[in-house]
């Protein structure tokens, strides 16, 4: 049964235009529009707007999709960026390793070179004199 008594709301008018109105209300809305020319005018205007928007932009959907927007192209460029990133990581690791090695050598070599002197000074303080002499003769 169609309910003509419940007043039609603005929201229902929009829903009517957009095909969102529950079926049991559409007859009531149509009856309302027949007796309310001002609302009927607004509804007509909204339809004209929608038509204009579709007329203006609707054709885009039929145009050819540019190559850069095809999925195969996008996945390919993602893969190539991925492999470039992987290669860059390997290079960075190798270079990083080399740099660390050089720095390590720069620290270690002088220490190694100075070691006999350090040892002599340290042993003199720590051990009885004969032992130190014996050690130096042996070395």
């Amino acid at each position: 049964m169609v309910d003509y008594n419940t007043p039609v709301t603005d929201g229902e008018l929009h829903a009517y235009v957009d095909g969102e109105l529950p079926p049991d209300r559409s007859e009531a809305v149509e009856a309302w529009l027949a007796s309310h020319p001002e609302d009927a005018g607004r509804v007509a205007a909204w339809r004209v707007q929608a038509e204009a928007i579709r007329a203006r932009y609707g054709a885009t959907i039929h145009g050819p999709v540019p190559d850069r927007l095809t999925l195969s192209r996008i996945t390919r460029s993602q893969h190539s960026w991925g492999s470039i990133a992987a290669a860059a990581a390997v290079v960075a690791f190798v270079i990083g390793g080399e740099v660390a090695g050089v720095i390590g050598a720069l620290i270690a070599l002088p220490v190694a070179a100075a070691y006999p002197a350090i040892e002599r000074i340290w042993l003199r303080g720590q051990l009885p004199e004969e032992t130190v002499k014996e050690h130096q003769q042996n070395s």
Binding site: H14, E20, Q49, A52, I53, A55, R56, H62, L71, I74
Partner: protein, 163 residues
């Protein structure tokens, strides 16, 4: 090709149409679609079923909002070819009018209107895309329509004078 990829592929023409109407510039629109596709493929693991199309509209809508935000931080003038008076009374005039009217809308209102009218999404789907209740979608639609009507009603006499 997986279903996921096929669903994306099928949606590309509609995404271009939506982006075109959102940005009103073919080049910017395709950039936006490209970013959307890259983002979608990269975050495939975040997609847990549901409608791929709505998900793509959501990504595109968000990317466009970010784009507008960064534009508003460093304002530039976007040329709308106002000089083309030759077509002002021809069949193209209506198209250019609606384009200007859309340009005047607040982004959220334009998005809601285009998703419903051009892309045929339901109110519920638009609510999901915009992350707001259905009531908010409906009031955005209503405001967009009032604004466009006011603009078009104001324009018509001017066009008659040119004739």
């Amino acid at each position: 090709m997986s279903t996921f990829h096929r669903d994306i592929e099928v949606a590309i023409p509609a995404l271009r149409r939506y982006a075109r109407a959102l940005t009103r510039d073919a080049e910017t629109a395709d950039d936006l679609v490209q970013d959307t596709l890259v983002r979608a493929l990269r975050s495939e693991h975040l997609f847990h079923g549901g409608d791929v199309r709505s998900w793509l509209y959501t990504i595109l809508t968000n990317l466009n909002r970010n784009r507008l935000r960064s534009l508003s931080r460093r304002p530039t003038l976007t040329p709308i070819d106002d000089n083309d008076t030759a077509g002002a009374s021809g069949p193209e005039a209506g198209g250019r009018d609606i384009e200007r009217a859309l340009a005047l809308l607040v982004d959220e209102q334009r998005t809601a209107l285009l998703l419903v009218v051009l892309e045929g999404l339901t109110y519920r789907e638009v609510a999901e895309v915009q992350g707001v209740p259905i009531g908010t979608v409906m009031s955005r639609l209503a405001r967009a329509r009032v604004q466009i009507k006011t603009y078009l009603d104001g324009e018509r006499p001017a066009l008659r004078r040119i004739k």
